[in-house]
């Protein structure tokens, strides 16, 4: 299970909508408790591709975020990105570029009126949806 605060969910949605049709992206960090991932902080990073169908996290911002996580006692849990006009599921390219099988890969779709956020465990070409719980807060 992976838990996300409502306020962090709204932060992701608001940023993704503001960036559309460009893909938005960022990192998630928090703690792992009893096998559950609890997201404590969502980072918004620049998509250096500035593209509608691709994203790459800005490495300089990534370095800054990693240091911030360490300073706050958080562990990296994965990343998130938006699909402005396609479903909330990993594309072939998402799977090919998912190098960390311990990470959660969150994908926010904006293709319908209501945003859809899912989280995936990706290993090789297999993607498995994780149980995502959005909590008040």
């Amino acid at each position: 299970m992976i838990k996300l605060r409502q306020s962090d969910y709204e932060k992701i949605v608001a940023h993704a909508k503001s960036e559309a049709p460009i893909e938005a992206c960022g990192l998630i960090a928090g703690e792992i408790s009893g096998g559950d991932k609890i997201i404590k902080k969502v980072y918004i990073l620049t998509n250096v591709d500035h593209a509608e169908e691709h994203f790459t996290l800005d490495p300089k911002e990534q370095l800054k975020a990693v240091k911030d996580m360490r300073a706050e006692g958080l562990v990296p849990l994965g990343n998130w990105h938006s699909h402005p006009v396609s479903p909330s599921r990993p594309s072939d390219e998402d799977k090919r570029l998912a190098f960390d099988s311990s990470a959660s890969y969150m994908i926010l779709s904006l293709m319908d009126k209501e945003p859809v956020l899912n989280s995936f465990h990706i290993e090789g070409d297999k993607a498995e949806k994780e149980e995502l719980v959005i909590e008040q807060g």
């Binding site: 893909e23 994203f55 996290l57 370095l63 390219e93 570029l97 190098f99």
Partner: protein, 68 residues
């Protein structure tokens, strides 16, 4: 000499290169890893020639990207 890798202090042999450190640290998919030494980003072709020094701070950043 002492260096710091991803925030963890380590004792390593003098003259260690970034390429050797990548091997010693069992870095997976090194072709998709960006390395910083004291916050300076290295190009991949600098890994062999970059010799680490006492007190260096090294970070490994995995490429993160994708597409719809």
């Amino acid at each position: 000499m002492k260096i710091k890798v991803a925030g963890v202090k380590k004792e390593v042999q003098d003259g260690l290169t970034v390429s050797q450190l990548i091997i010693d640290e069992n870095v997976e998919t090194p072709e998709y890893v960006t390395v910083t030494v004291n916050d300076e980003f290295l190009e991949n072709d600098q890994f062999d020639s970059t010799v680490l020094n006492e007190g260096d701070n090294i970070e490994f950043l995995y490429f993160m990207g994708g597409g719809q």
